[in-house]
C-alpha cells in the first residue's frame, strides 16, 4: 500500500511578507513543488483611470505619482508627454534635460529597491535592504532639492518641470555621481559571486526570449532574456538620442540575469546623467502653458522606458478640460503574464524569488 498524498493549495498573499504589497497567488503544491499558479489581484484598485476623467490635465500629474510609488518621476514623465502630444505643447531644452536626469535618478532608486528586496526574499535578512535604502535615501534627498517632495513628487508639468533646480543641487548631484559607482562596486563584490546567491538564482525561473516577446514583456525582464530592446534607443524621447549608453542584456533569462541586468542598468543610468550634466545649459524650464489646458479633440499615446518596463499613457480628448479617457499601460501588470511560465515546476522558495525578480509594484498593477 503506497502512501496517499494529495496536492495542497495555499494562498500566498494578500497578507504575506514578500508579495510586494497585496498580490495574491493561489498556488497548488505537490510537497514543495509548484503545480499551478493562479494570480489574483485588484486589492489595491483605486480607480486611477476613472479618477483621471474627473480632473483637469494638470491635476492628473498627482494621480500618476501613486501608480508606481517607487518610480513617481517616470510616471510623471510618461503622462506629461502624452498631454504635450495631445495639446501640441513645446518643452524647453533645459526642462528636457532635467526630466531625463530626474527619470534616470528614479531608475536608479527603483532598481535599488529591487536589489534590496530581491536579496531580502533570498533570505539575506535585512542587511542588503538597509544598504540599498541608504543609497536610495540620497536620491530622495536630491528629489527633495528639486521639488520639495521625496516619494510622491509631481515634479513634471505639461510644458516642462515644476521649477528650476536650486544652486546647491548641482554640487550635490556631482557628489552623488562620484560616490554611487563605489557603492555599486561594493554590491557587485559582495553579491554577484556569492555562492548561495548563484545556487539560488542560476537557471531558476528561466524565461525564453520567444515567450518574453510573445507575452509583450518589456523592461529589464525582456532584456535579461537576451532581447536588446529599450525604448530609450528604439524610440528616443526627450534627449535620449543625444547621450551615449549601452543596453545591458542577459543571456538565458533566469533570475540571476534579471538581477544582474538591473545592476548594470544602474551604471548606464549614471552614464546618462553624467552626460546630461555636461550638456545642460541655462534657460527656461517651463513653456507658457495655461493652468487649465484645453486639448483639441483627438487622442495621443506616449510611452517611455520606465524602470519596470514600457509605461504608456493613452489619452482621448473630447475638447474639454479633462480627458475623456485615460488608459494606462503599466509594465508591472503586463509583466505579470509570465508568472505561470516561470513559476510552475519550481518549488516554494523559487516561487518567491522568481516572483520577486519580476519586480512588480501593486500600485501599478491594480491602478
Amino acid at each position: 500500500m503506497g502512501i496517499k498524498s494529495e496536492p495542497v493549495t495555499i494562498n500566498v498573499g494578500p497578507q504575506h511578507p514578500s508579495t510586494h504589497g497585496v498580490f495574491r497567488m493561489r498556488v497548488t503544491f505537490d510537497g514543495e513543488r509548484v503545480l499551478d499558479v493562479e494570480p489574483v489581484f485588484g486589492y489595491l484598485h483605486r480607480g486611477t483611470e476613472k479618477l483621471a476623467e474627473e480632473r483637469n490635465y494638470t491635476q492628473i500629474v498627482t494621480l500618476t505619482d501613486r501608480l508606481d510609488y517607487t518610480a513617481a518621476m517616470s510616471n510623471n514623465l510618461a503622462y506629461v508627454r502624452a498631454v504635450e502630444q495631445l495639446a501640441g505643447i513645446q518643452v524647453p531644452e533645459r526642462a528636457m534635460y532635467l526630466r531625463v536626469i530626474a527619470a534616470e535618478l528614479q531608475r536608479i532608486a527603483s532598481h535599488l529597491i529591487f536589489v534590496g528586496f530581491f536579496l531580502q526574499e533570498l533570505g539575506a535578512f535585512g542587511t542588503p535592504l538597509m544598504y540599498s535604502f541608504r543609497e536610495r535615501e540620497r536620491i530622495l534627498d536630491l528629489f527633495e532639492m528639486m521639488c520639495g517632495a521625496r516619494i510622491t513628487l509631481s515634479y513634471m508639468r505639461p510644458g516642462g518641470v515644476f521649477q528650476d533646480t536650486p544652486e546647491d543641487y548641482w554640487p550635490a548631484l556631482n557628489t552623488f555621481l562620484t560616490e554611487i559607482p563605489h557603492y555599486l562596486d561594493e554590491y557587485e563584490n559582495l553579491v554577484l559571486d556569492n555562492e548561495i546567491l548563484l545556487a539560488r538564482t542560476k537557471n531558476i525561473g528561466v524565461l525564453s526570449h520567444e515567450i518574453a516577446v510573445n507575452s509583450s514583456i518589456s523592461g529589464p525582464i525582456l532584456r535579461a532574456s537576451g532581447v536588446k530592446w529599450d525604448l530609450r534607443k528604439a524610440n528616443p524621447y526627450e534627449v535620449y538620442d543625444r547621450v551615449k549608453f549601452d543596453i545591458p542584456t542577459g543571456s538565458i533569462g533566469d533570475n540571476y540575469d534579471r538581477f544582474v541586468v538591473r545592476i548594470m542598468e544602474m551604471r548606464e543610468s549614471i552614464k546618462i546623467i553624467e552626460q546630461c550634466v555636461q550638456q545642460i545649459e541655462k534657460g527656461e524650464v517651463r513653456s507658457k502653458v495655461p493652468l487649465i489646458i484645453r486639448a483639441p479633440i483627438g487622442d495621443a499615446y506616449s510611452r517611455i522606458e520606465a524602470p519596470k518596463g514600457e509605461l504608456g499613457f493613452y489619452l482621448v480628448s473630447d475638447g474639454s478640460i479633462a480627458p475623456y479617457r485615460c488608459k494606462i499601460r503599466s509594465p508591472s501588470f503586463i509583466n505579470l503574464t509570465i508568472l505561470h511560465d516561470i513559476l510552475v515546476g519550481g518549488n516554494l522558495a523559487d516561487l518567491i524569488v522568481s516572483f520577486g525578480s519580476i519586480d512588480v509594484n501593486m500600485g501599478e498593477v491594480d491602478r
Binding site: G123, L129, M130, A199, R200, Y256, N347
Partner: protein, 403 residues
C-alpha cells in the same frame, strides 16, 4: 554507601555544589541529609535556568543592537541606557497580547509544543562546565546527553507545526524535521573526533584533557560542528523552517502571546547554549590564563555567538533541497574525513606529547584545506562571467509615432 553518599562523592570537586551544600548543612540537622541534597540540587537548577532566562533577555538586546550595526541602523535605544531595558518592554508587550488558540488546532499538542522546545535547550546547560569546578552535574556520558536532548527539539517543532492547523506552519515543520535530522549526523560525527582525542564523554573531562584548543587541533571537526550546530538551531543561512519571506513565520505562524514568548525564548537560548557547547568542545572551555575561568568561558561563548550573528547578518538563505544536499554531500564527507584522520593519528600517537599534538594539528590543517577546497569545487557553482555566450536577438521594430 547510600545513593546520596555516592552522588555527593561525585560532586566533591564542584565548588558551586560544595558551597551551597555546606550552607544548607549548617541550618539542617544531620538526619536530613537527603533534604540538604535535594535543596542544593533545586537551588542549582533554579539558578542555572534563571541565569539562562536573563542571559537570553540580554542576548536578545545584544542581537538586535549588533544586527542593527551590521545593517547600518541604530537598533533599540529608547528604553533604559543603550536600550538595555528593551527585553523588559518586549516581555510586558507579549504578556498583554491575546493568547490565541486557532480553531483548527490540536489544543494540547499546540500548548505543549513551546515547552518541549524550550526544555531540552535548558537541559543542555546541566552538563556544561561554566568555570573551574562549576557545573550542575558531571555526567560520564555528558556529550551523549547533549546530543540526545537537543534532538528532542525536532519533536517540538513538528508538534508546533502539526498542531497549528496551518499550511505554512506544516511546511515549516516538515522542512524543519528534514533539516534537523540530516544535520544531526555530521554533528555527531564531528564530536566523535573530540571524543577520540580525550577518550571521555564527560564534558568536564573534555575541558580538562584539552591541552591545546581543539579548534586548532582539528579545525575540520570544529568547522563541521559549527555549521551543523547553526543548522540545528535553524539560524541563517539555514533558517528555512521559519523562512520569513517564504513561510511567513514557519511553524510559529499561529503562536501568540505567552506561547510565542516561550518559543522565542527557546529560539534565543539555542545560540547561547550551542555556543557554550562549542566553546567547551573546541575552545578549551573555561581554561585560559590570568582571567578568572568564568570570564574566559563567557568570552569564548560570546565570541561564538558573535560569529553566528555575523553569519546571520550576511548570508542569503539556501533552498531546502540544497540544504539537505549540503548536509549529506558536503558536511558528511568532511566529518568522515576528519574522523578517519583523527582515528589514524590516535592510533599512531596513543598518548601524544605537546609537540606531537602540534604535528597532528599541522596535518589536520592541511587535510582541512584540501578537503574543503575539494568539496567546494565539486558542489560549488560556476562563477559568473560577464556577458558569456550572450545571444542578442536584435529586434528590428519599426516605430511609428502616434500623432
Amino acid at each position: 554507601m547510600s545513593i546520596w553518599g555516592r552522588l555527593t562523592d561525585k560532586m566533591e570537586a564542584n565548588y558551586f555544589y560544595q558551597n551551597l551544600y555546606s550552607w544548607f548543612d549548617g541550618y539542617l540537622p544531620e538526619s536530613l541529609d537527603w533534604l540538604v541534597y535535594t535543596l542544593t540540587a533545586f537551588v542549582m537548577v533554579i539558578t542555572v535556568i534563571n541565569t539562562l532566562v536573563i542571559t537570553v533577555a540580554l542576548y536578545s538586546w545584544f542581537e538586535r543592537r549588533i544586527l542593527a550595526r551590521f545593517q547600518v541602523r541604530i537598533g533599540p535605544n529608547r528604553w533604559g541606557p543603550f536600550g538595555l531595558f528593551q527585553p523588559i518592554a518586549d516581555l510586558i508587550k507579549s504578556l498583554t497580547k491575546e493568547d490565541l488558540l486557532p480553531v483548527g488546532s490540536d489544543k494540547w499538542v499546540f500548548r505543549l509544543a513551546p515547552v518541549i522546545m524550550f526544555v531540552p535547550v535548558a537541559m543542555v546547560l546541566s552538563v556544561v562546565p561554566f568555570g573551574k569546578n562549576t557545573f550542575i552535574a558531571d555526567l560520564n556520558i555528558g556529550i551523549l546527553f547533549i546530543i540526545a536532548v537537543t534532538s528532542l527539539n525536532t519533536i517540538g517543532i513538528f508538534m508546533a507545526g502539526w498542531a497549528s492547523g496551518n499550511k505554512y506552519a506544516m511546511f515549516g515543520a516538515m522542512r524543519g524535521v528534514a533539516q534537523l535530522i540530516s544535520y544531526e549526523v555530521p554533528m555527531v560525527l564531528s564530536i566523535v573526533g573530540v571524543i577520540l582525542l580525550v577518550s571521555s564523554l564527560s564534558m568536564v573531562d573534555i575541558v580538562n584533557n584539552q591541552g591545546i584548543p581543539f579548534v586548532l587541533l582539528q579545525p575540520l571537526g570544529a568547522f563541521v560542528f559549527l555549521v551543523a550546530a547553526s543548522a540545528e538551531m535553524g539560524r541563517a543561512p539555514f533558517d528555512i523552517l521559519e523562512a520569513e519571506s517564504e513561510l511567513v513565520a514557519g511553524y510559529q505562524t499561529e503562536y501568540s502571546g505567552l506561547k510565542y514568548l516561550l518559543i522565542l525564548q527557546a529560539e534565543f537560548s539555542a545560540p547561547i547554549v550551542h555556543s557554550a557547547v562549542i566553546a567547551t568542545l573546541f575552545l578549551q572551555g573555561w581554561r585560559g590564563p590570568i582571567l578568572p575561568s568564568h570570564l574566559w568561558f563567557f568570552l569564548k561563548t560570546f565570541l561564538v555567538v558573535f560569529l553566528l550573528l555575523w553569519v546571520r547578518a550576511t548570508f542569503p538563505r539556501l533552498r531546502v533541497d540544497q540544504i539537505l544536499g549540503f548536509a549529506w554531500k558536503g558536511l558528511l564527507p568532511l566529518a568522515m574525513i576528519n574522523l578517519f584522520v583523527i582515528a589514524i593519528e590516535v592510533q599512531i600517537w596513543p598518548s601524544p606529547s605537546t609537540s606531537q599534538l602540534w604535528i597532528m594539528a599541522g596535518i589536520n590543517w592541511i587535510v582541512m584545506i584540501g578537503s574543503v577546497v575539494l568539496i567546494s569545487n565539486i558542489l560549488g557553482q560556476s562563477k559568473y562571467k560577464a556577458n558569456s555566450n550572450v545571444v542578442n536577438t536584435e529586434l528590428t521594430v519599426s516605430v511609428k509615432e502616434v500623432e
